[in-house]
């Protein structure tokens, strides 16, 4: 019942905040959002899952109640955690209070609605990462879109309406494609499944339960389903060439929303890829290993090049997400213990680091009202703490050892380099590693131009240090990044435990 309590409490908190007066909605939301975080720490302390939830492992905090029946198949409220979902649940409950804190300065209208929507989104995100029934999962998945649409569209920058609608249309069309792909897969499974529970579907596919459906042979059906779901999730991740909604959404979104967008929402895509494509249909995934790896490498390099060309700090961070997500895809497709485990670890690490970067850029923006690299210089003199953390975050992004980003990328590269499942693995890995150099290049040059040297910004007010409630979340995030970098095992052990069965799902003939 504890997962229900967690999700239910968050929904309730959203409602309470929505009805609270604007004056103290922010404080109330922060206080209430601390509860799910404590709850997720409790989950962590009592976590006892073994293996992967989809491949017959023991599921922690499992609960399952029948909901409705459709076409002879049961749809149930089925939630639970394994080593892949728990870190993402903790990441979500950890980032939301910090994002709420970082919203106190920039959000100055309709506060109760803003914080209410943030909490509503958190509740649905928790649902996405815990649901183990396809139907339930999809309901949560789509429900995330609605608050995001309003958060960007109401509180965003000048082109907010365009960005909000683009986000909504892109990701919704992607969801539909994914939905159709997945549903046709379940139709092709025929009578071999009695419910839409993910473990059961995974098992049925592994047992060869696919039948000919509407004249489409099982093998082709699985491939079509794989491509449709892959394309659907690729938009969410996003991978080149489906990434064009992301910079618009990020640049227009207010800072705290960008934090959740990059920190958690993009992980929905990679999480779903791991769960659906790579765990359920491993044969199709390895058959397409080379093109997928190529897309991953292109995302890494192209995303980094796009970031290199930007003048807007926020856009730079946004594009670098495309790059980082490329690493995750590469880690997934190599099907090794360290590849899949590292990819999952990188999801968490990138969630923290990109969250930190967006937040820090936001704090600088609050002080200067510009994000353009050419407009400001010497910010380090005026807000030394913020700038210090920003630089540390940038180093984390570049993969400096002892920071979370290094651990994630290192695992992925180790896993990818000698991967037996991926032809030309060393070539792909080496090319992807080259991305790090570009990342270091653009981050260092942007930092150099904006942060150091003599202060140069014409404003009619004093630019000074940021208030405590702006800097505190940055410090907390940085601490978390360092902790994960120094001791990746706090998560990596459980991730590896859940990733191993995925890897074993692919039999490689070398």
């Amino acid at each position: 019942m504890i997962l229900e309590a967690l999700i239910g409490f968050t929904f309730l908190a959203a409602l309470v905040v929505l009805l609270a007066p604007n004056a103290w909605a922010g404080r109330l939301a922060f206080a209430l959002s601390a509860v799910p975080f404590v709850g997720s720490l409790y989950l962590w302390s009592r976590f006892d899952a073994v293996g992967n939830a989809l491949t017959g492992g023991t599921i922690a905090f499992e609960s399952r109640y029948e909901w409705i029946e459709v076409g002879g198949r049961t749809v149930s409220w089925f939630v639970g955690l394994d080593g892949i979902s728990l870190p993402l649940v903790v990441l979500t409950t950890f980032l939301v209070p910090l994002a709420i804190l970082s919203a106190w300065t920039p959000v100055d209208s309709r506060q109760s609605q803003f914080y209410g929507l943030m909490l509503f989104m958190e509740a649905n995100l928790l649902g996405v990462f815990t649901a183990l029934d396809f139907f339930l999962w999809f309901v949560f998945w789509e429900a995330v879109l609605v608050p995001m649409y309003f958060l960007i569209g109401i509180w965003g920058g000048p082109r907010r309406k365009y960005a909000a609608i683009k986000f909504f249309v892109y990701t919704n069309a992607a969801s539909l494609l994914m939905f159709i792909g997945f549903m046709s897969l379940t139709f092709a499974l025929g009578d071999s499944i009695g419910s839409l529970a993910l473990p059961e579907i995974t098992q049925a596919i592994a047992d060869g339960g696919l039948e000919t459906w509407f004249g489409i042979s099982p093998g082709r059906m699985a491939m079509v389903a794989f491509l449709a779901t892959f394309a659907g999730f690729a938009v969410k991740v996003p991978i080149v060439p489906f990434h064009t909604w992301l910079p618009d959404a990020h640049v227009e979104a207010p800072t705290p929303v960008s934090v959740l967008l990059a920190g958690v929402l993009l992980k929905m895509g990679t999480y779903a890829l791991l769960r659906f494509n790579f765990t359920m249909l491993p044969e199709q995934a390895s058959a397409l290993a080379v093109p997928i790896a190529a897309i991953a490498v292109i995302s890494v390099i192209y995303g980094a090049m796009l970031a290199l060309a930007q003048k807007d700090l926020k856009r730079i961070v946004a594009y670098s997400s495309v790059s980082s997500m490329g690493y995750v895809i590469l880690g997934l497709v190599v099907f090794t213990e360290y590849g899949v485990g590292g990819a999952t670890f990188q999801m968490v690490a990138h969630g923290l680091i990109s969250g930190l970067m967006f937040m820090a850029v936001g704090v600088v923006y609050n002080a200067t009202h510009t994000r353009m690299v050419g407009d400001m210089a010497g910010m380090a003199d005026r807000m030394p703490v913020t700038v210090g953390i920003l630089v540390a975050g940038a180093f984390g992004y570049m993969g400096l050892p002892l920071m979370a980003g290094f651990a994630g990328e290192f695992f992925i590269f180790v896993g990818a380099f000698g991967a037996p499942a991926l032809p030309y693995a060393p070539v792909f890995t080496a090319l992807a590693m080259f991305g790090i150099v570009i990342v270091a290049g653009y981050l260092l040059s942007a930092m150099q131009k904006t942060l150091f040297g003599p202060f140069r910004l014409e404003t009619d007010y004093e630019v000074g240090p940021a208030p405590f409630h702006d800097v505190a979340p940055l410090a907390v995030l940085l601490a978390a990044i360092i902790v994960l970098g120094v001791a990746p095992d706090v998560f990596f052990e459980m991730i590896r435990d859940a990733a191993m069965p995925v890897v074993e799902g692919v039999s490689v003939d070398v």
Binding site: W67, V70, I165, F168
Partner: protein, 503 residues
């Protein structure tokens, strides 16, 4: 329960509606000076709710269910109370209750609102009778009983040119389609020698030389049904009538009256002209409905996408939804085990639609009450002045579009899945494409309310009016639309059980 109470009590949902209407008319006649808008609205709402409670009680108690002795037939088989009838009566009673509550505020300054309440309740009575009709004669009488008050309701704002014109158009098309329908019935009678569904069905099996006559009759009956459900090609009246009518009436017509058309369609075509026998006689009405459904949903959705007025957009989208619900008939195939599922899904969709569509039109009623105009632009920035009502409207819009967190997703999902299971992949695919189109125009409303800025700072000043009853009705419909998602299990179970009664 039929063992202890007289059988006619099975008709009490319809009787309660009718008696309430009569009581209102009586009070209005005897004491015209003492009627008050509020007491009229309260009495009609209580009447509708009483009818709803009895219906729900019957459903729970299993009246007319196969487990408790099966359907209750009255008047020599001309009337039959079964689970299907009760399911639809629940839709009619809920929508009626919402509409009369909302009307209280809408007609706050109207000279003589009493007629509105009694006409609405009489129309609702006709719908409840349609649901239990088991003979083509009863169907026709009940259909007219729905239609005649509806013509008057559309033209209710007699000083408003649009309202009167819409009433006239509705009346003319309605009279034509009634004539067509009646002629169709007479042809069927000529061919089969009976009007009671069961007897017609057995006669259809042995049609020989008269198959052609019966076929033409059936096609004409399809036409009559298409009129009532606002389906192509008898849909022309709908946008005009919905737009011109007072908004609560539009809600009533597009939700309850449409559902009434569907209960006739579902019952007549499965019980009087069973698909197997009809096809054997050379009459494949499922094919006809497949074509009507495909054209209706496509035309409705694409026409809705180009509208500039919210009410007119809702009117066209209502045509689109008629197309979805028609899948319930179109995707039937002889002897298929999935027939119950797809028809049950269509019925569940109509139930959910009853709440979300009524709610949407009632929101339009609220906008009319505020006097802020009708186009998308007029709704700009509304969420800042009326956040609760706009949130409710956003729920209706997303639910109508079929987005997952809301009940409309489930009902569409079940409908399309049922069609696929029955082998109608193309129909489900067309429905899905239409749903994507619909997301475009539904989200325009949400965008205007939440994201756009009002054209002038004073554009929204009129909103200081707070119509309490309208608010209550809109919020209630929104809550129902949300809660129907987790509570969809009982709904679909009841709908499938009701559909099972047909096969």
């Amino acid at each position: 329960m039929s063992s202890v109470t007289p059988a006619w009590t099975a008709l009490s949902p319809a009787l309660l509606l009718g008696l309430t209407g009569l009581a209102l008319l009586l009070v209005d006649t005897i004491r015209p000076n003492e009627r008050s808008n509020t007491s009229m609205a309260v009495v009609s709402a209580l009447g509708a709710l009483a009818s709803l409670s009895v219906t729900v009680w019957f459903v729970v108690a299993g009246t007319g269910h196969a487990d408790t002795g099966g359907a209750i037939t009255l008047l020599e088989g001309a009337v039959k109370v079964d689970t299907l009838a009760l399911f639809f009566t629940a839709i009619f009673a809920s929508v009626t209750a919402l509409v009369v509550v909302a009307a209280h505020d809408y007609f706050h300054d109207h000279q003589n609102p009493a007629a509105f309440y009694s006409l609405t309740l009489f129309a609702a009575t006709g719908m409840a009778l349609l649901a239990v009709a088991n003979s083509l004669a009863v169907v026709f009488v009940a259909l007219e009983m729905v239609s005649l008050p509806s013509y008057a309701l559309v033209a209710f704002l007699k000083k408003n040119r649009g309202s009167v014109e819409a009433g006239l158009k509705y009346f003319l098309v309605g009279a034509l389609s009634s004539a067509v329908f009646l002629f169709g019935i007479s042809l069927v009678y000529a061919a089969t020698g009976s009007l009671v569904f069961g007897e017609v069905a057995s006669a259809v099996e042995s049609l020989d030389a008269l198959a052609g006559v019966a076929g033409i009759g059936i096609v004409m009956i399809v036409g009559g049904v298409a009129f009532k459900t606002a389906s192509v090609p008898f849909h022309f009246w709908a946008p005009e009538a919905y737009e011109g009518a007072p908004a609560p009436v539009s809600a009533f017509l597009s939700s309850a009256s449409k559902a009434a058309g569907f209960v006739v369609a579902f019952r007549v075509f499965t019980e009087a002209f069973p698909l197997g026998a009809s096809v054997a006689a050379g009459i494949d009405w499922a094919l006809a409905f497949a074509a009507v459904a495909a054209v209706t949903m496509t035309l409705g959705n694409f026409a809705a996408a180009v509208q500039e007025e919210v009410k007119r957009m809702l009117a066209y989208s209502s045509i689109g939804h008629a197309g979805y619900a028609l899948i319930g008939l179109a995707a039937l195939s002889t002897g298929s085990a999935g027939n119950e599922a797809v028809m049950g899904a269509a019925m569940a969709h109509l139930l959910v639609y009853g709440f979300m569509n009524t709610g949407a039109f009632l929101f339009v009623a609220m906008a009319e009450r505020w006097g802020i105009g009708r186009t998308f632009e007029d709704y700009a920035g509304l969420a800042r002045r009326a956040p609760v009502a706009c949130t409710a409207m956003a729920v209706f819009m997303f639910s109508l579009a079929g987005l997952p967190p809301f009940a409309g997703f489930f009902s569409k999902y079940f409908l399309f899945m049922g069609a696929i299971e029955n082998g109608f992949l193309w129909l489900a695919g067309l429905g899905a494409v239409n749903s994507v189109v619909s997301l475009y125009y539904y989200s325009r409303v949400v965008r205007a309310m939440f994201l756009d800025d009002p054209a002038t700072p004073s554009a929204l000043d009129a909103i200081d009016v707070r119509p309490t009853a309208l608010y209550a009705a809109v919020v209630f419909a929104a809550v129902a639309t949300v809660l129907l998602l987790p509570g969809f299990g009982p709904v679909i179970d009841a709908a499938e059980a009701a559909a099972a009664a047909l096969f």
